[in-house]
Structures are given as C-alpha cells and as structure tokens.
Amino acid sequence: MAYKEVEHKYSGKINECVMGTGEKAITIGGENALPFLSDGESHAPAVGLTILDIYPEDWEEVVIEAYGEDTVKDPVAWAKYIEENTDAEFIHLRLISADPNGQDNSIENCVATAVNVEAATSLPLVVGGSGNAEKDGKLLEEVAKALEGKNVVLFSAVEENYKSIGVAGGMAYGQKVSAESSVDINLAKQLNILLTQLGVSGGDIIMDVGSACSGYGFEYVASTMDRIRLAALGQNDESLQMPIMTNVGDQAWGVREALAEGAKKDKNLERWNL
C-alpha cells in the first residue's frame, strides 16, 4: 500500500494582528495549522526583548552584562540599544516602578517613561504593568491614551481590570489588548468573551495564556496551547482564534536550573544572537 500524505487542513484560522506602526510594524498570527505546519500564508513568531523602568536588581549578571550596566539603568537608552544591536522585533517595557507594594511610582511618571521609550525607537512596543491588577488597570488605561495612534500592545488585561484596559485600549484609543489567563483553556476563553462582549474586536485581542519553565509545569502550558489551537482551528472557535503572546523571560531566571553551578557560569554558552 502506498503512503497517503497527511493533510493539515483545518476549518479555522488564527487572526492576523498588527503591532506597531510604520516600517517596523509586525504582523503575527494567520496560522491555519498547528505550529510549523502552516502553509505560506502565516507569519513566523516574533521575538522581542524585555526592558524594565527600574534597574533589574533581580536579574542575573550574565543578562545585565550583555547590555552593559549603564544601559539597563535607563529604559530609553536600553530600548535604543536593543534596536541598534539586536534583531529583536519589538520591545516589551515593564513599568515595574508602579507597584504600590514597591516604589509606588505615580501613573504620570510611568506614562512619561512609556512615551519616551516609544519615541526613542521605531520598534513596536508592548507595555506591561507592575503586576498589581488594580493599579495596572489605571496605568495601562493612561498609557493607551498617551500613545494613541502608536498601536501598542497593552500587556495584559486580567479578570480584575479587563474593563478599563479593554475600553481604553481596545476601543477608545485603538491599541491591542492582551488578555492574560493562567494556563487554562476555559479561563482564556472566558476572558476573550468578556472582552468581546465589552465591544473590543476579536482582531484586537492577543492572548497571554501563561507560561512555565521547562520542568516546572511546562506540560500544562504545552497541553493548554495544544487544546486552544485545536479548538481554534479544528472547531473554528472564534473566541480562541487570537494569536498568543507569551512572556518566557519572566520566570526563566527564577528556577534552580538557571542558577545551578555549572549552568550559569559556563563560558561556552553562546551569547544569544537574536
């Protein structure tokens, strides 16, 4: 019996979504099959780099050395460095200083940082908050307003603040809204539905379905993503057809493997060439 070729055709398709403006704007999504199996129409995953609005105290030396200690003190210089020296396709700015349990920096100051970083580079910008849902709701609302027309991604709306971020970002000021859920297909779907019911167009939503380091529950992430894509493509479930954006850098340096002797000090490790 001759080999019968396997088909990778599905009825559903992942939404296409543009981030940023101008020449360096990027388009993500468009897949009509599981990862790496789409035909020519889909977009390759985009890779960006994270910068913080405070000195990255907790980061490993090896990462700080890659940029230079002075560069990472200033988010504007840091963003410029990335644009000039790496192939990163977007910048992910985290406004950590806003954290009410930390520096509790004012929303005005944080918005100013976002505006300055945006002005300093032509790369698409993804703006994240401090992790405090209440403050981030207000902060990202103001960021959306100040950066109107720049098509930034607000990273991310959660169940507690999706209304303010959704209304401001997705509707009033035409930004992209990331919807964050914690590694669960039903929670992901629910937040997407809540946002669309609010009036945010499905095409303006990106999903952050959570992440985990390898060895630390990565199987949940892998299976959640499999299930989301199979529902989006196979069952044509519109509430799950958003492209996925995932923050892998967030936890990577917190696990023991990353800090193990013989792992971090290995000079043979290649520096990343994005």
Binding site: Y3, L37, C213, S214, Y216, E219, A222, R227, A260
Partner: protein
C-alpha cells in the same frame, strides 16, 4: 484499529451455544469489540480467525525495546497524538554523537560530558541514554568508539550505511539491543539480515516519506519488525513535518507501516548548539522517540530533561516528591522549618525560592497525596492531623532547636488547629505565593 462487533460476529459459529457465557453470538461479539470479553472465551473460534482478530486489534504503533538490563527502554507504543487526550507512554531518549571523523579531543569531550551529565530529578536519573557513533571512513577507530560506548553502559547506536562495516559494527553491539542505523532503499536487504542476526533495532532512512514507507514495507516483508524511522535531514521544516506525519499516519490514518518510533538527528539539521537545543525541545513535544544532539552538555540537559519529564507525565497522575525533611542553605540547629505539600511542582517552586533566599531552613513535606496546597487541603490530605503527625515523627525536632513552623499562606486557616496539635511550636503564616518567600525569610531571620 477498532474492530466492529459485526466483523467479529462473522468469525463466530453463530450457533448461540452460550458456552462463552453470553446469550447469543452477537452479544458476545459486541462484548469482544468493546474489550469486555476475550475472543478465546468462544471454544469454537478457529485459530485462523483468532490470528485475523489479533492483527486487527493490534495497537496502531508498535512498542520497540532498546537496551538491556537497567538500560532497557520502550520506544513508541503511543496511542494518542496529544498528551491531553490520554498520556504519552514512552519517553523520548536523548543521545550524544561521536564519530571517527572527529578528533580524539572532540570525542573525548563528549564522552566526558556523558559521564558528567547524570543527575536525579524527582526520582528519575537523567542522562543521555543513547550514544550515536557515526561512521565516516576509519573503520578501526569507528569500532573502537562503539566498543567504548558499550563498555560505558549506554545504548549504542551505529550510524553506518556501508554493509561490510555495518556487519562489523553489529558484532560489537550484538548483545546490547542497540540500534543499527543503517537501512536505506539501496541496502535494506543486506542490513536487515545483519540486524536480524544480531537482534538489533534497525534504523531506516529514505529521501522522502513515500520512499520510507516503501522500504519499511519491504523490510517487513523480509520478516523484520524491530524498526525505528529516521525523520530525515533535508531541512528542519521537512524533518519536523515528517515527524508529525509519520505519527499522524500511524495513529490517525491507521497506517501500520508507519507504526514505529522515530529518530531525529538534530545535529544533521544544524551544527549550531542553541538550535539543536531548540529543536530537541520541539521534538520532545512532537514525536521524536530518540533525539540526537552533537553533545548533551549540562546546561542543555538541565532544561531538556526537565521538559521531557514534564511532557511524559501522565496528566491523570501528578508528579510527587518523597515525603521527608529537606535541608537548604546549610540548615543547622537554629534554622526554622517551612511546610508545604509533596506535589512536585510545588516542591520545585518552593525549594527554588528558599535556595534563592540564602537563609538556612528546613522544608517539611508530609504525604499530602501529590496535590497542590489548596487541593490537598480541600481533599483532607493536608490537614492539621497529617501535618502534626509528620512533624512529630519526622525527626525534625532533633534537627533544629528552632520551633518556628511556617505554613503556606494559602492555608492560614490551619494555624489554630496546628497550634493545638503542636503546642511546643510557634505556627507562623508564610506568604501565599512562593515568590514572596525570599523576602519573608530574610525578614524573619533579621537579614532584611
């Protein structure tokens, strides 16, 4: 392939004799089809019919054994394409490669890493189980390398297409149930005989999936079914697609010819180490049964084996760690005691944070059923009784004079009950999230 009751019914005598214990042949056939009865229960079924049925009910993907003794591993035998549908059963094996084409220095460095990279992770020893030995031109050196692999106790894989050299290689590895990565459409007859004579798993390669399919059929016709299929090395995209297509053909399209484990040579797809690591993780997720890198070094191993352990975890059974007292940062007789559950993910997260705090401490883990903190508490396996019994019987009271017991913030509600059961202890409520542990511990010990 699922067999229909009607197909089985056709093989029965249709006499409704009831000797099988069922009222009619049809009822019996339906039970057999659903797996609730064995065809052997019918005394009148012919041997021929039994053979037909066992062929039809055989699993879609064969389980191939490689290695002997402690090194014995199953490859394949998978029944689902995605782990959430049920579970994956045979973990991917990782391999390093040496070759007579490489300098002694390079080969020795890879052997050194093979010896060095061996560690325990939640009760599983992690090391590259397979060593690939690739033949280029120096037969004596090639055979020496193979011998070395056999002696060091890893599963040897000889990558050689030359029939004469393959025969010599097979003699070296004949008792290991190793892999003879040799068959192509050009030489399959000769090397199949060699693999068969030496009881080796035969690796099969071809330029395209249709050619691969063709040559597998021919090898099966020669009576050999201990095979592993090469996903090819034309391009990364092609190899990935082939890995997916081979598995999908077998499990979804029920094509038995592709019902074999697969092998991926990431080192033939790129010589960039980072790219090999990335590819290995992709092939752990999607259908590599043996995955070959140039060198499984320690930093790569830390990430890849953790990932493999995750992906090959049965979704219905949580990973657990041993219920015992764990020590961190040179804990001594003054160190406080933290408490958490035996769910591996919780243990790893909490222990990582304690290490990061650099504060000497003990971590007490009772048998909490392998669930997360809240689930275990709700299930009654992480209550004050379980906790206080464990603290009393674990010997922790001899290890430290400190009587500070820090319970997870999420079960603050247990504070009073534990206090009652352990009157000598001061029960402190720790933070609700593991990431807050370093700050908490530093403050507790007056370091912050």
């Amino acid at each position: 392939m699922a067999v229909k009751g009607l197909d089985i019914f056709k093989l029965t005598p249709k006499t409704n004799c009831k000797e099988c214990g069922f009222p009619t042949c049809m009822a019996f056939s339906m039970k057999v089809a659903s797996g609730a009865a064995q065809i052997e229960a019918c005394p009148y079924i012919t041997e021929d019919a039994k053979a037909q049925l066992s062929e039809a009910t055989a699993p879609p993907m064969k389980t191939i054994k490689v290695g002997v003794g402690e090194l014995e591993h199953n490859l394949g035998g998978e029944t689902v394409l995605y782990r959430h549908e049920k579970t994956y059963v045979s973990k991917a094996l990782l391999a390093s490669e040496v070759s007579d084409a490489l300098s002694d220095e390079v080969n020795d460095a890879r052997f050194a890493n093979l010896e060095k990279v061996k560690f325990d992770r939640i009760g599983e020893m992690m090391f590259a189980e397979v060593v690939s030995v690739r033949y280029a031109s120096d037969q004596a050196k090639f055979l020496e390398l193979l011998k070395k692999v056999v002696e060091m106790g890893r599963i040897p894989m000889a990558v050689v297409e030359d029939e004469a050299v393959a025969k010599e290689a097979a003699a070296v590895i004949k008792d290991t149930k190793g892999i003879l990565m040799a068959a192509t459409p050009a030489n399959y007859e000769a090397v199949t005989a060699i693999a068969k004579d030496n009881k080796l798993v035969l690796g099969v390669s071809a330029d395209s999936l249709s050619e691969l399919h063709d040559v597998v059929e021919k090898i099966e016709a020669l009576g050999y079914k201990e095979l592993i299929l090469n996903v090819g090395s034309k391009s990364i995209k092609d190899a990935y697609r082939n890995a997916v297509d081979i598995r999908t053909s077998a499990l979804k399209n029920k094509d038995r010819t592709f019902g074999y484990p697969s092998i991926v040579f990431t080192n033939q797809l790129s010589d960039n180490r980072s790219l090999q690591v990335a590819m290995t993780s992709a092939f752990i997720l999607r259908y590599g049964s043996v995955i070959v890198m140039d060198d499984v070094d320690y930093p790569a191993a830390l990430a890849l084996f953790g990932m493999r352990q995750n992906i090959y975890t049965d979704p219905q059974k949580p990973m657990r760690v041993e219920a015992t007292i764990y020590e961190f940062n040179n804990a001594d007789d003054e160190s406080p005691v933290l408490l958490t559950v035996d769910f591996a993910l919780t243990y790893f997260t909490v222990s990582g944070e304690i290490e990061r705090s650099k504060v000497p401490a003990y971590l007490a883990i009772p048998d909490a059923g392998g669930y997360s903190v809240l689930t275990a508490w709700a299930a009654g396996s992480f209550g004050s009784g379980v906790i206080s019994d464990f603290i009393k019987n674990s010997g922790i009271e001899e290890k430290t004079k400190s009587r500070k017991l820090i319970i997870p913030g999420k079960v603050a509600v247990l504070q009073g009950d534990i206090k009652e059961a352990l009157p000598d202890w001061e029960i402190l409520v720790g933070p609700p999230e593991a990431m807050q542990i370093p700050k908490y511990l530093r403050e507790l010990s007056g370091l912050a």
